[in-house]
Symmetry: C2
Subunit: 454 residues, 2 copies
């Protein structure tokens, strides 16, 4: 049992509630047993507080390379669309080596920031001229290598992208690295499956980019290809997209998708920001996951998700770091709640019932919804991969904190500074808040960035 | 020159712009010289990037003791007012020893989080029965001791509090520790001045709590007492307060104050959230500082400050950590901008002119406005106190970042994790991101909290 490990926690969060004196054994990366109310054994790794790692359901890893560079005012009013031009310039420059270096750093930061699985919404397929690489999954393989370098669990979502706008508009020059035919996409998808073969806990899904970028026929073909695998799509992020969809179809994007595609629990609708009327409750009833990215949606000026209507209909949601401008699971959750407080001018919005801890509700919902969207499991339970985060019990916000408020204290008062160690698939990848390979991965990132900006 | 020190920075932010190879000499806590484009000398402390510390213009230090404990849903809709009841329960328990222990930890976290001066809006004057302590400034002295323990610069703002609501309503039981007569306040103010005598860079201002808590006559008396010292007042934080003010006076709070008090550059209007019509531009023209507390205003569900109208009128503002639920200068700035982006659905709102870096505009405005509100100086310049923050130049978000985007990268992409060292009045108080006295101060905090919650 060279791969065996046991962790003893003074308290651990097990399916929605805290238990004391919890001993967890791990074999071959998976949790073999969870025992509550037991003493530590001599060789156990002892921790204070233990929580499961969170899934990050939406990432474009390469965009970490432009973090902080899109905040200088342009000539007119800046918007998502002017930001997208800058993003396309970065996208035009990244080769497979740079992709691996940038993604590895982003994934290190995710592991340090509370995430143990990433859903990589991957559209940067071809070389800068738009020609497929000799291996059509060369860029996907760079993401797989970055997942290996960092240890994070990967749900790869290769993106199908064909058009610049509703009604099958010709793609723009800045989109040429993304565009495939359906046949080309099938080759890419098969090559991606091969690239994932040796990565522990890997999942392969697929992603029609948006209703702007795929026609109804293409969407139907992709849906058929998916089987039960995760299907992710960007939707209703921007008002202009809603207006264009109305002009094209007479319906709003979420409305159109729910009427015209077999949306169900294996679907993730990323953003779904601009919904009105019955859209939030219809989406909730479909069983699909709303993929919310509060930090990026704020950075891009997208708008606020209509959470109240969606929660009231028991909607399922998770969080994503999207543009990776800042990577922090707890800041995503904190500002998801805070955005609602600011717009509704009341407190504890996500906590629907008296006595509910807002932090516990947010954490549990994001964990379950994120895992559902990524085709994975969530939580500290036998059979699950050992994806665990220990917290410093002496952090001032957590010391002497009643157990019922611990996740509030973590999310609203302490933040990621309270993270001590992270185990992924049973391997300790973060210690003292720092990824064990951070120095080497950061050095490789820095030289990749210097090359890009030269 | 036992108190002498020299720091050499590869780059330092000097009055709105970066300069390379900057050597700063310090004597007796103050910057003696700033030389640009010069080599380091053998005994210099060498740093990568150097920025000035920011002022935190609004803090209730004792509220750090309830951080994370106000996020459990109550019986009805939670609001600022239900949170205030919980806050009053904590306020009822804190004695001078606990005040010192809690404030010292909060101040340590401020220094680790980018702040080098705090404006302490201090109303917890008397013992739990409402009787003045033998030394009327016993609680103020505890705050002074906490500033000494941590090294932070203090602007003390003793609060005058007399009434529970507009029109001179009798104070409630939960407010008895706050209430004084005007004579009692004058004694408290004089004793506070004495308590501050030996604290480097200390400033004494005064603070009518709010238009709810003081009558027009009391406000006039306090204004006369101030001379040119800082005057801070809570205003227009909550819609109910606006409605009550309208019912009482026929005017909105900001409107009433600007019409009935000599509001000028030594005033700080804290929150000023709910303004309409001409209020933002009239406030801007008064020269007073708007005291914005984005994290707390989000936590309490206050609402969003009308920044666009205020910026267009060249309004002066700064930031405060207020309830101290989370202490982080860069998160305050990030979400001040993000709140505006979400409500206006555009980007780079605070950057008014093409080519402006949003981060640089935010940092400079918060530095100058905060310093103005606290009666202090801001920036790296000869004669100023040596209040300096060094950043890790190898942080991935800062490495290879063009200088014009460095403050964007710091505020939006790196956050406080990039802070390396902090000097306050020439003494190094933070090293490697950690306050040099953190362990002892955190232990004292933990035992104070255990006592409070027992």
């Amino acid at each position: 049992m060279s791969n065996a490990l046991a962790i003893h926690a003074k308290a651990a969060m097990l399916s929605e509630d805290w238990a004391d004196d919890v001993r967890i054994t791990v074999a071959d990366g998976r949790i073999a047993s969870v025992t509550v109310g037991t003493a530590a054994q001599p060789d156990d790794q002892r921790v204070g507080l233990l929580i499961p790692g969170l899934p990050n359901l939406h990432s474009h890893a390469f965009q970490r390379a432009m973090a902080g560079l899109g905040e200088v005012r342009g000539a007119g009013d800046d918007s998502f669309w002017s930001w997208r031009e800058a993003m396309y310039r970065v996208a035009g420059q990244v080769d497979p080596d740079a992709m691996q270096a940038i993604a590895a750093l982003a994934y290190v930061e995710m592991l340090e920031g509370g995430f143990t699985r990433v859903g990589e919404f991957h559209y940067l397929h071809h070389d800068p001229a738009g020609t497929p690489y000799a291996d059509p999954a060369a860029m996907a393989s760079a993401l797989v290598a970055a997942a290996q370098d960092s240890g994070i669990a990967l749900t790869l979502l290769p993106v199908f992208y064909a058009h610049a706008g509703f009604g099958g508009q010709e793609p723009q020059a800045g989109q040429r690295r993304f565009v495939t035919s359906l046949d080309g996409y099938a080759r890419l998808h098969a090559a991606s499956a091969a690239a994932l073969r040796d990565l522990p806990d890997a999942v392969l899904g697929l992603a029609p980019h948006s209703l702007r970028a795929v026609t109804p026929d293409q969407l139907a073909a992709l849906t058929a290809l998916a089987g039960g695998a995760p299907i992710h799509i960007h939707i209703a992020e921007q008002r202009r997209e809603v207006e264009d969809c109305l002009a094209w179809s007479g319906q709003r994007p979420v409305e159109w998708l729910l009427d015209n595609a077999p949306v169900g629990p294996n679907w993730c609708l990323v953003h779904a920001t601009h919904m009105t009327g019955a859209e939030p409750s219809t989406l909730a009833r479909s069983g699909a996951v709303a993929g919310l990215c509060p930090v990026t949606e704020a950075n891009l000026g997208d708008g606020l998700f209509p959470a109240s209507d969606f929660i009231n209909a028991d909607g399922c949601w998770g969080i994503g770091s999207d543009s990776n401008v800042l990577i922090d699971a707890f800041e995503e959750l904190r500002w998801l709640e805070y955005g609602q407080r600011l717009s509704m001018q009341r407190r504890n919005v996500f906590a629907a019932r008296p006595g509910d801890s807002t932090g516990a509700v947010l954490f549990d919902a994001a964990g379950r919804g994120g895992a559902q969207a990524l085709g994975a499991a969530f939580g500290i339970a036998a059979g699950h991969s050992a994806d665990l985060v220990s917290l410093d019990p002496d952090h001032p916000a957590l010391a002497a904190c009643p157990s019922g408020s611990r996740l509030d204290a973590l999310i609203f008062a302490a933040g990621r500074a309270a993270i001590d160690c992270v185990w992924r698939h049973g391997a300790k990848v973060v210690s003292g808040g720092r990824h064990v390979a951070r120095a080497a991965i950061a050095a490789r990132y820095a030289s990749a960035i210097e090359r890009l900006r030269a």
